[in-house]
């Protein structure tokens, strides 16, 4: 029983990463109609950024949580302004290909500088120990990551549904032309939203640094799993993406416990099932099928 609960916790922690990345993907897709292949590379840059500012400038984990996403926000905004915007009038597949090219560049640039071996990143001292969760002890850092991802998703959800900015973004996502006709400057929000999605990926990267291997390839395989998560949840559905993220993390951990042979392929089998049953994803709308 303890083992089972522990696995559930592990699953939810890794589900938190899926959810954060899927959330960023979904927000970007909603606003720009772009599927950002480079999302995994930005996640990796987040983790590497945390490592670099620690080693080069001695910036601690808590400061890195702010500094690195901010830097990635700027990077994302620049990329949107200089590259992605140019392909906006064309088939969205071109931007998919563009971000694929960016992924190769970013990944190999980091690999060239620092090699493929994993860099060590210490846990913040405040979260070094374990927490007594009643039935079992659990690393405090993992508990923090889970709480942080839940809170972040909830905050983004609240911003999207309860604030004026969120209203504009959602309106622009659903009916860009109509929103424009109502006198709202939709174009103004494109760059910040893309930057925000990239910053979210970077934040997830910083969170991952103390518990996962920091290396240039850490985002590559993860992003494809996140694509599967997004397909399961429904591309364009923020809620579906987040929910699918946590659910897939949980299922994967349980699969790991009971059918270890399937641990890596389970997510894709679930995706196949969802495609059979609901090709637009569990929470996707017909419009999302472009």
């Amino acid at each position: 029983m303890t083992n089972f609960l522990q696995q559930c916790f592990n699953g939810l922690v890794s589900g938190g990463f899926y959810a954060l990345l899927a959330l960023g993907l979904a927000v970007i897709f909603g606003m720009l109609g772009v599927v950002n292949f480079a999302h995994g590379a930005f996640f990796m840059l987040g983790a590497f950024g945390a490592y670099l500012v620690l080693v080069e400038a001695g910036v601690p984990f808590w400061a890195a949580l702010v500094v690195v996403p901010a830097a990635l926000f700027v990077l994302g905004a620049i990329l949107e302004r200089t590259l992605i915007r140019r392909l906006a009038p064309f088939d969205p597949l071109y931007n998919f290909l563009l971000t694929f090219g960016l992924t190769l560049v970013l990944q190999d640039a980091v690999k060239r500088e620092y090699g493929v071996q994993s860099q060590p990143y210490p846990r913040p001292a405040e979260l070094a120990g374990t927490l007594d969760l009643g039935l079992f002890d659990y690393p405090a850092y993992q508990v923090f990551v889970l709480a942080a991802s839940v809170v972040l998703c909830a905050v983004v959800w609240l911003v999207l549904t309860r604030t004026r900015i969120g209203m504009v973004v959602r309106a622009a996502t659903e009916r860009p032309e109509l929103t424009r006709a109502l006198g709202i400057n939709v174009g103004r929000w494109v760059t910040p939203v893309f930057g925000f999605g990239v910053a979210l990926a970077g934040l997830a990267g910083v969170l991952a640094a103390p518990m996962r291997a920091v290396n240039p390839l850490m985002g590559a395989d993860l992003i494809i799993a996140v694509f599967a998560v997004v397909v399961i949840g429904g591309l364009g559905s923020v809620f579906g993406s987040v929910l699918a993220g946590f659910a897939i993390g949980l299922l994967q951990a349980l699969g790991n416990l009971y059918v270890p042979a399937l641990s890596q392929t389970l997510i894709f089998i679930i995706m196949a099932g969802v495609l059979l049953w609901r090709p637009t994803g569990l929470f996707g709308r017909e419009e999302a099928r472009t």
Binding site: L87, L104, A109
Partner: protein, 344 residues
Amino acid sequence: MIRLLVRHTEPATRYLLLAAGLLIALALPWLIYPPVAMDIAAWALFAAALDLLLGYTGLLSFGHAAFWGSAAYAAGLIALHSGLPFPVAVLGGAGLAALLALPIGYLSVRTTGIYFAMVTLAFAQMIYFVANQWRDVTGGENGLQGIPRELFGLDLSDPFVFYYAGLPIVLFGLFCLWRVVHSPFGHVLVAIRDNPARARAIGYPVDRYKLLAFVLSAALSGLAGGLFAISHGFASLQEVYWTTSGKAVMMVVLGGIGTLWGSAVGAALVVQLEDYLSTSGFNGIGIVTGTVFVLVVLLFRQGLWGAARKLGTRRAGSRRDGRASDVSAAVEAQPAPASSALPR
């Protein structure tokens, strides 16, 4: 395709171009390092097979490494354990790729556009994990090594000789593609690409056509992948990894989407570039290829062959009646300037 290019030129030019292509294919190992020539030939077939989907059916598959790679493993295993002539092993690989493409294609064609790209990518990753875990068969991270090249006891160890043994397979594959594209079936695919709703309304079972195109494309990718494994003597996880899918897409886009020959040109350029970079000891090939790809997508979406064709049509158009042809103004956003021959 040749026919498009030739529409505005004399019939003799068509055969001249075809002959020139054949001549280049035959002369390739004299011009460049023979193993690289073989790589170019295999990748050219792979890219052209992918273009059948991307350029003619309007589906961007980002998971074709699954078929190229699984065929590489299958061909390698057949050659290692049976001692059959290598073309049989390569055909076996193509057969496995086609078999694998049936369920993957069946599920994937239920989606379109960017969704299709993500789904195929995800399925290819699944194949990658299977290959990684199934160590007894695939050798895991070591891959399959020492794959023999058997052909009725002939000595094919010289890459120069092997090129001429493998080339017929590539030419056969390209000929198949050429026939498919120009068949009534191929025209239906183009109709589906340009207007799926209308094709459905006319009475074509769109999803079944897409699935058949997917399986054909996968089988021919498998033909290329099997040949690649035999020519290198090994099959590794790299063959099923997502970067391999991306590389093939890169070749198609660079050569020009919807132009089979363009894919071959794109393959030649990418293979040459990577060979040049790796022999010059540059660490970080992705920086260069990724940048090239970004630039091509940004500035050069019609690709090399597309640009050449545009030039050709413009010249032909001005010669005819002094007006620039409309074909040259084909919307860039479209995957390809359509030959839009709807079935009569």
